[in-house]
């Protein structure tokens, strides 16, 4: 099962390596990881999506993260009311005819076209996982050149 965890860390040199090293050393799988500053420039936020086989593994991951000296707090969104979003860019190779079809998919998904060139376009969508996966599923019929995902971020309500 996938869990979204937000980790507040000291904005210090090497912290990312500590967190990433912990996951690799203990064999936990990371689905996605984002890092950025917070309102306090001394604190960074990492949002990690982990795949934990059971509750005990998830607990152990959280405890191990907490044990890192530079980790200030951990928020596990699993049992919380929260909002999560991910940004995707998709570069799609389309001719005029396909583009008409594509526009319908894009319209339904509330995605937007950022770039439109002769033979390709770049589409953007910010959405939660369900919506996003739905959208990507519908793109199966098109020729995807490149897919770029930002990784999830989340905030508690």
């Amino acid at each position: 099962m996938k869990h979204t965890i937000s980790i507040l860390v000291e904005n210090k040199f090497g912290v990312l390596a500590r967190v990433a090293g912990l996951f690799s050393a203990r064999g936990y799988n990371i689905d996605s990881l984002t890092v950025s500053e917070t309102q306090d420039s001394a604190i960074s936020r990492m949002t990690v999506v982990v795949n934990a086989s059971d509750e005990q593994v998830l607990e152990q991951i959280k405890k191990q993260l907490n044990k890192l000296i530079d980790v200030i707090t951990i928020i596990d969104f699993t049992k919380k009311d929260y909002i999560e979003r991910e940004l995707v860019f998709v570069k799609i190779s389309v001719d005029k005819k396909d583009f008409v079809r594509l526009k319908k998919v894009i319209g339904r998904a509330k995605a937007s076209v950022l770039v439109r060139k002769e033979d390709f376009c770049i589409v953007e969508l910010v959405a939660d996982q369900e919506h996003l996966n739905n959208f990507l599923g519908q793109l199966k019929d098109f020729k995807l050149v490149e897919l770029v995902r930002s990784g999830r971020i989340a905030i508690a309500k």
Partner: protein, 564 residues
């Protein structure tokens, strides 16, 4: 010289380092010089801080570790960059696995050269990240004093462990105003000391009602200094106690309630007792796989209470029923108060006594020179009061089984990493920390050769360390596995050894050789009466095995040997 002092001092990084070490109460440092630590060594030249030059950086790290185990203080070691630092790595990993407080200071190339593959550069913070509790690269001399303060605080509090400070040479020579941070607070690091009262009360109730309880005691009781509380809990309620390898000495080995060590090479009665118990109270122990054996078969009928300062130790390998995060000493103190009536466990204690009689810890008594006999004699002649360091292998297992320790911090052995070559340098560190004590390194003929160069350190510093080599002519522990599980195919385990007596003499130590039982006591007596390093080469039975033994991956009560 601090803020409140009369004047502010401008100092170099190297001077600040040594000043901070003194203020942290450091009395001795172990290490080895080199290019990028020259500024530190220059300050050490006339500083009032004892510096022990080992003959290898690994020796320095193990000596600092042994010092820490014997005294409870933080062990400190120092090396140059590159090869000096990488030579410390095994010693740091060793301290990490056994939760030993240590600060390792490594020189580093100049800050502006870092990352350029400079001469003798290695990414020390990168290399040591997974084997330290925390590490630092100090890039600005203004951060140095606070970093050192934090390093000592982190190393010695909570679950102790090694901390590395990587110190570029230009930071050592840069100058700044020296400010000693009086107070240290790290917002992201606050170990829980007091246990949750609700949980402790729950635990007390469970103990009151238990029919077959057992205390399973580990290294955390020693690092917490909780032996007295443990003894009170056990004696007041007549609870039997088994200790892990790291818990040896936390509870008196000769106590009637003591079952000795449990686990792969534990006593049969300790293993039977834990497997058959209905309540396990784990105190500062981490359910290591050497202890649990096959995990799904471990103590099937037992509820588990787990007291540990490190939440990650709890429910890591074994799911527990009542977790209590806190310092062993504080939690035990509260727990004792909450237990209103002792459990009624006469039958259980009777059963344990039966096991004790049925499966005693023993070995063959004939006229051959057996290693267990040597250890028993060492125990007898040191009144059970020596500090025993060991190497790794059979020598180590016989030492924990046959030298019953009554005091904490007298058993100094590499548990989690099992580092051959640990014993001699650790014994040196222990002897420096506890000069009044007799310190023995019980060694194997293989292991002793992994840091034999430290004989020079011991002789030069007039440390009367005694070394008892149980010379079986084999990498014995590996040979035992080959005998039992690989059809006696002794691949690369027979040893052709040097003449250890001559070797000792070449280093300026005394060398003795013992080949017969009746020579054992006189040799030990001679060693004890000698004010020098003494190395005794005990030529023992070559194919003696350590029993009991639980084969790897087997249930704990499926022991080989020691059953009859």
């Amino acid at each position: 010289m601090d803020r409140k002092g009369l004047f502010m001092a401008i100092m170099t990084g190297a001077q600040i380092l040594i000043e901070c070490l003194k203020r942290e109460g450091v009395e001795v440092m172990f290490g080895y010089p080199g290019g990028v630590v020259l500024p530190i060594f220059d300050v050490l030249y006339d500083a009032k801080l004892k510096f022990i030059l080992t003959r290898h950086e690994q020796g320095a790290a193990h000596a600092a570790d042994g010092y820490a185990r014997a005294t409870g203080k933080v062990g400190v070691c120092l090396s140059t960059s590159g090869p000096g630092a990488t030579n410390l790595v095994t010693g740091i990993a060793n301290a990490y696995m056994d939760s030993i407080p240590m600060v390792a200071i490594t020189g580093q190339v100049k800050t502006f050269l870092i990352g350029n593959d400079a001469f003798q550069e290695s990414d020390v913070t990168g290399i040591t990240r997974p084997i330290t509790k925390h590490n630092y690269l100090v890039k600005d001399v203004k951060d140095l004093a606070r970093t050192i303060r934090e390093a000592f605080y982190i190393a010695s509090t909570g679950r102790p462990g090694p901390v590395v400070i990587d110190l570029p040479v230009d930071v050592q020579t840069s100058k700044t105003e020296f400010i000693w941070p009086e107070e240290i607070r790290i917002r992201s690091y606050q170990p829980t000391m007091e246990g949750h009262p609700g949980q402790i009360k729950k635990a007390a109730k469970m103990i009151e009602k238990a029919k077959k309880p057992i205390l399973y005691v580990g290294g955390g009781v020693i690092s917490s200094g909780a032996s007295e509380q443990l003894k009170a809990l056990a004696e007041k309620n007549q609870l039997p106690v088994t200790t892990t390898f790291m818990g040896i000495g936390a509870f008196p080995g000769e106590h009637t309630l003591c079952l000795g060590m449990l686990g792969m090479h534990g006593t049969a009665y300790a293993n039977h007792a834990i497997m058959d118990s209905d309540l396990i109270v784990a105190i500062g122990a981490r359910f290591d796989d050497r202890v649990t054996g096959r995990i799904d078969a471990f103590a099937p009928g037992a509820k588990i209470i787990h007291i540990d300062i490190d939440p990650t130790s709890i429910s890591k390998n074994i799911r527990v029923d009542v977790p209590i995060v806190g310092d062993a000493k504080e939690v035990l103190r509260d727990l004792i108060g909450y237990i209103k009536k002792s459990p009624d466990i006469k039958m259980w204690l009777g059963q344990i006594e039966k096991w004790r009689k049925e499966f005693p810890l023993t070995y063959k008594h004939d006229d051959k020179l057996r290693p267990q006999f040597v250890i028993e004699k060492i125990r007898e002649l040191t009144g059970g009061d020596a500090i025993i360091a060991t190497e790794v292998g059979q020598n180590q297992m016989w030492s924990c089984l046959f030298y019953q320790h009554n005091q904490p911090r007298t058993w100094i052995s590499s548990g989690g990493l099992g580092t051959m070559g640990f014993g001699l340098p650790a014994a040196i560190g222990a002897q420096i920390g506890r000069p009044e004590k007799v310190v023995f390194d019980i060694a194997g003929d293989g292991s002793i050769q992994m840091n034999i160069q430290e004989l020079a350190t011991a002789v030069f510093n007039k440390l009367p360390v005694k070394i008892a080599i149980l010379n079986n002519g084999y990498l014995g522990m590996v040979r035992q596995w080959q005998e039992l599980f690989y059809n006696k195919r002794y691949s690369s385990t027979p040893l052709k050894n040097p003449d250890f007596v001559k070797l000792a003499e070449a280093y300026g130590a005394k060398g003795l050789r013992v080949t017969r039982k009746d020579e054992v006591a006189p040799a030990i007596k001679e060693a004890l009466a000698t004010d020098n390093v003494v190395m005794i080469d005990f030529v023992v039975e070559p194919e003696e095995n350590v029993f009991p033994m639980v084969p790897a991956g087997e249930a704990l009560n499926r022991m080989l040997g020691g059953m009859a």
